[in-house]
Point group: C2
Amino acid sequence: MPVGTLANIKTVTPAQLKMTGAEMVLANTYHLHLQPGEDIVAEAGGLHRFMAWDGPILTDSGGFQVFSLSQIRTITETGVTFQSPRDGRMIQLTPETSIQIQNRLGADVIMAFDECLPYPSAYEVTAAATHRTHRWLQRCVEANQRPDQALFGIVQGGIYLDLRQQAAAALSEFNLPGYAIGGVSVGEPPDLIAKIVQVTTPLLPADKPRYLMGVGTYREMAQAIAAGIDLFDCVIPTRLARHGSALVAGERWNLKNARFRRDHAALDDACPCYTCRYFSRAYLCHLIHAQELLAFTLLSIHNITELVRFTQRIRESILANTFVADFAAWLRSEPTAQ
Amino acid sequence: MPVGTLANIKTVTPAQLKMTGAEMVLANTYHLHLQPGEDIVAEAGGLHRFMAWDGPILTDSGGFQVFSLSQIRTITETGVTFQSPRDGRMIQLTPETSIQIQNRLGADVIMAFDECLPYPSAYEVTAAATHRTHRWLQRCVEANQRPDQALFGIVQGGIYLDLRQQAAAALSEFNLPGYAIGGVSVGEPPDLIAKIVQVTTPLLPADKPRYLMGVGTYREMAQAIAAGIDLFDCVIPTRLARHGSALVAGERWNLKNARFRRDHAALDDACPCYTCRYFSRAYLCHLIHAQELLAFTLLSIHNITELVRFTQRIRESILANTFVADFAAWLRSEPTAQ
């Protein structure tokens, strides 16, 4: 899922996004609550109409953002109170209000409100947050007024594999339409992320979508898919684009680099995207040097297409029973690789 | 012609531009000489290939930019020497080098190198610059190595109608494939622009394209077309978009305005463009408040479509012999209107 924090994939229109092969997008409850507010989105007929995306949409719960973006926050059993970075007013998000906002936003998949912790956090603190997340999940299930929206639970447990295992077992009891692994990619060593995913994923129902939040790179995705993960979201393709970088042949290329100034080859001649069909590395290098915003659009289109194609190739390999052989390099590669 | 200064229409892909109905675009010799340089564009196979625009392209000569953008410049009969705002080096543009650069860029239409003056300029100064522009035109004609590129001359003469008339007569002698009126819209009162266009245009060959440079608004275009003008270029549609404004029903709307926050109507329900088909005023207002660059793309698509449609309606009225009646409001309107 490309990330559409504020009800748009940055610099990419829905028509362009459709052509990348992306099917589902993510939007952020926290950000949309602050701007424009869920009332305006609901008045518009929901997120799909508002942002003109007719494919599936998932909204996260705001749990991760109140912990990662808010300066001032108070956590109680009720929920989290934080100061709006927009106008300074205090806002409370609880399991009930998060679900209420998500019900109004109207995505296809909504996420339970969870307590996220920074890395590293002590075992006892992590255990308490994980157990609270389960109590909050119960309140989310009870608060959900829209059976047409699929409510996914989130496995927490930090870096402690026994807590992750307990959480996966506890969540599975809820018989939810889907499950997510959260609280990863917050600063842990990549090997630890891989270990958490390997241990946790098999404990979640295999007949339900399993979603690894905030991941990933080629390697992280290949390894997570090997563990059973079905769904990802990540800002990497669009954020890299805004930094002038392209994902080509498994590498990150900074198109601002002088070596591309006279390189008139297609960005990636193996890629069928709009950018690679029509534009050269030299042209993209020029746009970046000229500070032209069109570079962000063209690089985003390519980067999203590239990661979607990567997962498509994995899907085909799985169906052909050749996944491990075909993706051995990614599965075995060092964590520092992409 | 939408303006693609640096070989791109800001925030709009060629595929999106095609859908606006725009057929021809303008690019700037001055800017492209500085970045990426005409050698790189030529290596790429010319501007069309480089920027992936398969429609006609016009390059201006750099004459206007060296006068309007350069801080330090020296004008002699040979040409203009100015300091690059990019790296401080001194650059000389002459009729010969301007044409040489344009030959390398490879547009369909190239412009003669002219001496532009600020408004106001004294009669004698203007007369001297106008006569020099004619001598420079002769040198441009002789320097042009590519008969497949149509070289247009530029009528100067400032606000002095007799100089404009002399210039139009002098240029017509050259039997060029097209003619432009330059040095307008540099600060003169709108009524004076209209007067210059009314007096000058009929003196240029009616069987050749006549191009009014740097114009325009609805009113300026309607009045210029009434005088015989065929071609315009203007940054208004894309620049307004980057300021959050849309051209709707002949007005400029600032979509950031709070009155649009809950306005769920299409931007302009009379417009068939992508933006108006899929997105509401409330959504555009949201994108602007959220500082999302996608707003620039969506507003540019609409604004270009709107001005192209305006000229298309004028063309239809001319063919139906109803132009004056259909556009009387614009032809008669006050200069302060758009």
